[in-house]
Symmetry: C2
Subunit: 310 residues, 2 copies
């Protein structure tokens, strides 16, 4: 492999894991973009190829470009980079399409320069791309894409990302119904205040979920995968949500919720077989509704972005 | 030791640990009540002695009595019990005085009957005592008193107590200024709604604190010991709170907050020496205010209630 060029896998990610709204995310193995990053002699950054989605190649209009620029401004490197993006994650799916591109760009560039920056810094650069995509420099998806596994974003200002232990038998099911929800709409629908009583339930569940992950206690993980605050409101925007959730839990899922701001719905299960059953059960609901969808079953990706053979 | 009679140490406890309002508590080693529980042939429950505090011996008016009755109603035991209570934890101090008596009674009775009930059930019986004391059947203090260490009460209906890993070098400082705050007042002062933004910060911190405890990451524990919601309001009721907290952090504490509903103030530190310094620094504030106080330094008590030699 030529060290001036790498091909990488940039994972899809689930943000807003039930009770962990705005703080808990995880990386997937079964779906992700591919990117090729090349070091070139001429200074500057260019996106030379994009396939799979109709996205702008102009650096300032592309999340990978904006993230890459943030990286290059902080770097002492005098040369340039070329980026090829092979999108597999659909835009607006709710599983971190923009984050994969932003995180992949900076991770790849860092690798080619022998890693001058930490994962923490890479998340900060990638957040610039997220700001272009959604107007908010959030780390919900770029953090798990870069760190892998489960991440808790304790704070974004200053940035504080905490990698959380991943139980060995944990699998994710994802179902992406082909409907459009704008991130801005799903933000607008939220209430700006909540009851203290609901807040207490929510932070009790977040603490318990983190404990469940460390203890590999699947029962506790299941009891904690509850969202009293955001899911009851946002699920209104996703036709069939309640039925999908009912079927997922009926098929043995530990929990089920909205991925990111939707429309994708995720479920977590113990063991691959259960996760497969759960994905099938979720799929059936959208089949009965005559709504097209993409189904996935995935191990939790504990490595994050990874090098592929060119 | 006669198996018909035991003497036990019933630890003081800290509830509402900063971000963990209403969910996170811990047990202390350095302060606690002592109780003697005796099996007697005649049915029924009696409190034969109380020292240290002027509390009613009538079973229905005493938290240990009420908790003990809840235990006996669920038990098949046909005989009776006698209880002696040696109070060392002052009433209204905010470090679980009523919880120690309630938890101690049911723990001791269970021990003498060869443990027919689980810790989970003992917490439920002890909660009946807490209901008498504060009007609310909460588990914030009885859970750590019975389980020991750090506990997270994910839910009270149904009861779900999660023991959390305790880092080896964690110590607590407590300072109890001799002022009176009624639990009912400190409940009333709270707002019934909070902003979603503050809620997100709070559950981010709870998740991070739990992760910090499992990872024994004292820096992370320190960054997470923040309460955006309750402390800013309740601290108004405790004269000198801001200065005490400032001095505690200045002396090296990882974090500092209100114990229970106050007036006691706790700090957590890494290592005994720092905890001693922190207690001294906190003490000085009340000395300068000419307010009398009780200072404590304590290891986290990972065992909870323990048998003493009679």
């Amino acid at each position: 492999m030529n060290k001036d060029s790498i091909k990488i896998f940039c994972p899809a990610t689930i943000a807003n894991i039930s009770c962990g709204f705005d703080v808990l995310g995880l990386a997937l193995s079964a779906i992700g973009d591919e990117m090729v990053i090349k070091k070139v002699r001429n200074p500057g950054l260019s996106i030379t190829k994009i396939s799979g989605l109709d996205l702008p190649k102009e650096i300032h209009k592309n999340v990978a470009g904006v993230a890459g620029l943030a990286f290059m401004e902080a770097s002492e490197y005098k040369g340039g980079f070329e980026i090829e993006i092979y999108k597999k994650i659909k835009a607006g799916s709710g599983i971190g399409s923009s984050a994969a591109s932003a995180a992949g760009a900076v991770w790849g560039m860092n690798y080619l320069l022998d890693s001058p920056f930490s994962q923490h810094q890479l998340v900060q650069f990638a957040m610039a791309g997220e700001k272009l995509a959604s107007g908010v420099a959030h780390a919900d998806n770029v953090a798990p894409a870069i760190y892998g596994g489960f991440t808790l974003v304790r704070s974004t200002e200053p940035l504080d990302v905490i990698p959380i232990h991943v139980p060995k038998e944990l699998y994710a099911s994802i179902i992406h119904p082909h409907i459009e929800i704008k991130t801005s709409d799903s933000r607008k629908i939220l209430k700006t205040s909540i009851s203290l009583a609901d807040g207490i339930k929510q932070w009790g569940n977040v603490g318990a979920l983190v404990a469940g992950l460390y203890q590999e206690d699947y029962g506790l993980i299941s009891r904690s995968l509850v969202d009293h605050i955001v899911e009851p409101i946002r699920s209104i925007l996703i036709p069939g949500f309640d039925e999908v959730k009912h079927e997922a839990l009926g098929a043995g899922a530990l929990g089920c919720g909205i991925s990111g701001s939707g429309p994708s719905i995720f479920a977590l299960s113990k063991g691959l077989k259960t996760a497969q059953k759960v994905t099938q059960a979720m799929s059936k609901v959208f089949e009965n509704m005559d709504l097209s969808y993409d189904p996935y079953v995935s191990k939790i990706n504990t490595k994050g972005i990874q090098i592929m053979t060119l």
